[in-house]
């Protein structure tokens, strides 16, 4: 934590495409949390996507081009932090794209060591426990696959959520089972994806929670879209919205957006 004597920790925000386009509030909430934890936040404007669509489609040349671009964009930052286990997990894959004799390999390793998903950054790296937020209601948490299995994110968001006044955690069955989003999987195999997300919304409803919370917008858009289609009365929010006390706006896929209010 910073005070008058310690300089702020210099963090580059990895915005992620989905937060940038679908839910800017998530990126703003991430900035707010980082600032509360004593960081100064920059948003390098040469960043785009992490490259995962290319990587998972077997297009390594494009993945490498994007990896170099991202590495350059975040040169000089002590940390790179983003509100997604999946995109940050992709940054952790960058070293696999370069051969041992390629100078980019070391730079990719260096980026990997500095790249963190927001909840694990706050808990594991900073030991932060200064959440100032109030949220009245029963929530349940979906563990997104990449964060859980590639970055070991499980207790970090729960630990931070427990600091919020008024929150009541109701774990759902199979919280660790994939929601069926899977990037392009959900449009390549819509029927299978639909079955998987239907199982998920069923479990979320059974948990008795009023709000479904998670750390990856891909999964959250998928589950929110299904819940709305099924007419279920469960809100869906990114974990940082609750942690940063930014829940006045409508939940994901809900009506009555006051455009631009999130600033």
């Amino acid at each position: 934590m910073s005070d008058a004597h310690t300089p702020p920790i210099k963090v580059g925000l990895f915005v992620t495409c989905l937060a940038d386009m679908f839910r800017p509030e998530v990126a703003f909430a991430t900035v707010k949390l980082l600032e509360q934890a004593g960081c100064s936040v920059d948003v390098p404007d040469t960043q785009t996507c992490c490259g995962q669509p290319a990587f998972n489609s077997g297009d390594n040349q494009t993945s490498r081009d994007i990896a170099r671009q991202t590495i350059k964009a975040f040169d000089g930052y002590r940390y790179v932090v983003g509100p997604s286990g999946s995109c940050i997990g992709m940054l952790h894959h960058y070293p696999e794209l370069f051969t041992e004799d390629d100078p980019w390999k070391a730079r990719a390793e260096d980026l990997k060591a500095r790249a963190f998903e927001i909840t694990s950054f706050l808990v594991d790296e900073l030991g932060f426990s200064g959440i100032q937020s109030r949220f009245n209601g029963r929530i349940t948490y979906h563990d997104s696959c990449s964060g859980l299995r590639e970055l070991g994110i499980k207790q970090q968001p729960r630990q931070l959520l427990a600091e919020i006044d008024g929150v009541e955690m109701h774990e759902m069955q199979e919280a660790e089972t994939c929601c069926g989003f899977g990037g392009t999987f959900c449009v390549k195999y819509p029927d299978i994806s639909n079955r998987m997300v239907s199982n998920k919304t069923e479990f979320a409803a059974d948990s008795g929670a009023e709000t479904l919370v998670g750390g990856d917008l891909g999964c959250l858009l998928n589950m929110a879209g299904k819940l709305k289609r099924e007419g279920r009365e469960i809100d869906v929010r990114h974990v940082v919205e609750l942690l940063a006390d930014m829940t006045d706006n409508a939940a994901i896929g809900e009506a009555d957006y006051d455009l631009g209010k999130a600033i």
Binding site: P24, A27, F28, T48, C49, G182, L221, K228
Partner: protein
Amino acid sequence: MQIKSPEFKQSARIALQDENLQKALGNLKAGFPGKRAAAVARMPEFEELRDQARDLKNHILEHLDLYLEEFEARVVENGGQVHWCRTSEDARKTILQICREQDAKTVTKGKSMVTEEINLNEYLEENGVRPVETDLGEYILQLRGDHPSHIIAPAIHLNLEDVSEAFHEHHKRPKSDDPAELMAEAREMLRKQFVAADVGITGANFLVAETGSTIIVTNEGNGDLTQTLPKTHIVVSSIEKVVPTLEDMSLFLRLLARSATGQEYSVYNTLSSGNRRPDDQDGPENFHVVLVDNGRSDMVGTQFQEMLRCIRCSACMNHCPVYGSVGGHSYGWVYPGPMGSVLTPQMIGIEKAGLLPNASTFCGKCEEVCPVRIPLPKLMRHWREKEFEKHLSPKAVRWGLGGWAFFAKRPGLYRLMSASASRFMRLLGGKKGKVSSLPMAAGWTDHRDMPVPTGKTFMQQWKARQKQESK
């Protein structure tokens, strides 16, 4: 077996609508994962054993030739014979030749996926030898003219009524829906076959180099009767099953049953070390081991070598949400689930199996439970690389990806693109917060709503905020 992997998508759609199959898959999901978790929880050293098993398999694969030759030498010392078969066809011909030497009419078979892989049953039938499956699940499938949909629970796609129906039709007995009665009926039918058989064929879970032994791990005891009663025992095994010592074998046995069914040990762990000796009370007079390569040695030294660590426990498919939704037959060939999606392209060619490595969300659950820590998502991704290099992915996918990459590599243009896409979706969604139909994303909106952006992009808003602050 006819290859239907290219039809994966259509087969999956049909499977999702099949209520009978869905009910059966429900049983699978309610059973295996919970039992495995309980077995693992009872064994504190489980994770450490997985590391040991991974390392040992890696060592074996580095010295595969050495251990296989040692195994062969011991089998011959024990009085048996080893047959090296490069292809499925070599293996089929070798097995038929042994059957012909014995003038065999009936062959009993223990459960073996490798004999499915080489399409043995059909070949034997065509050549006048009658194979009789003796594993209960395999027996049911044979009566129905069906194939396994799972590597250790081959008839997992069926329900009690299906079995009852098949037995009634083929055994010509009154219909029963009592599992114990049905089991007794199958046992009665199979006893006669065990005695009548001229040759018994089994697979092998492991081959032990130091003793020349093969081992089968079963729960029904059918394998023991298959290999003990006939005059000739043929073991059909793929080459990567060799382990150096009996002690090494025990390491894998400790992992195998726990990962597969959640048992600490399977009911029968039966070792075969050569043919009957003069003092033995029973056992076969002739002992043959047919070693099947079928593309495996081509994997050694490549990025797919790690797949050869597989011990066929089925944990990956038991825990796979895609397998759990569509069942094993949708995968269209012998090996289903995540392990099948890596193995099938190697064996039948990426051109025919290309859809399988794509049928995964890369959720990573398979890797999490694999007892020998095979990085299955990574290996599926390697197949996607091959597919991309060979231009096998659908045009729409390649063009879509190309278009996206063009923008993703140009940050300025990317900003403009996302800002206008955001605006477009906000116009469509209005104040409803979502759209329920988007023709260019029908795969999404057929089943769920699409939440729309809540405002201008973050990058636009952030810039505006920076400007405000600097004033």
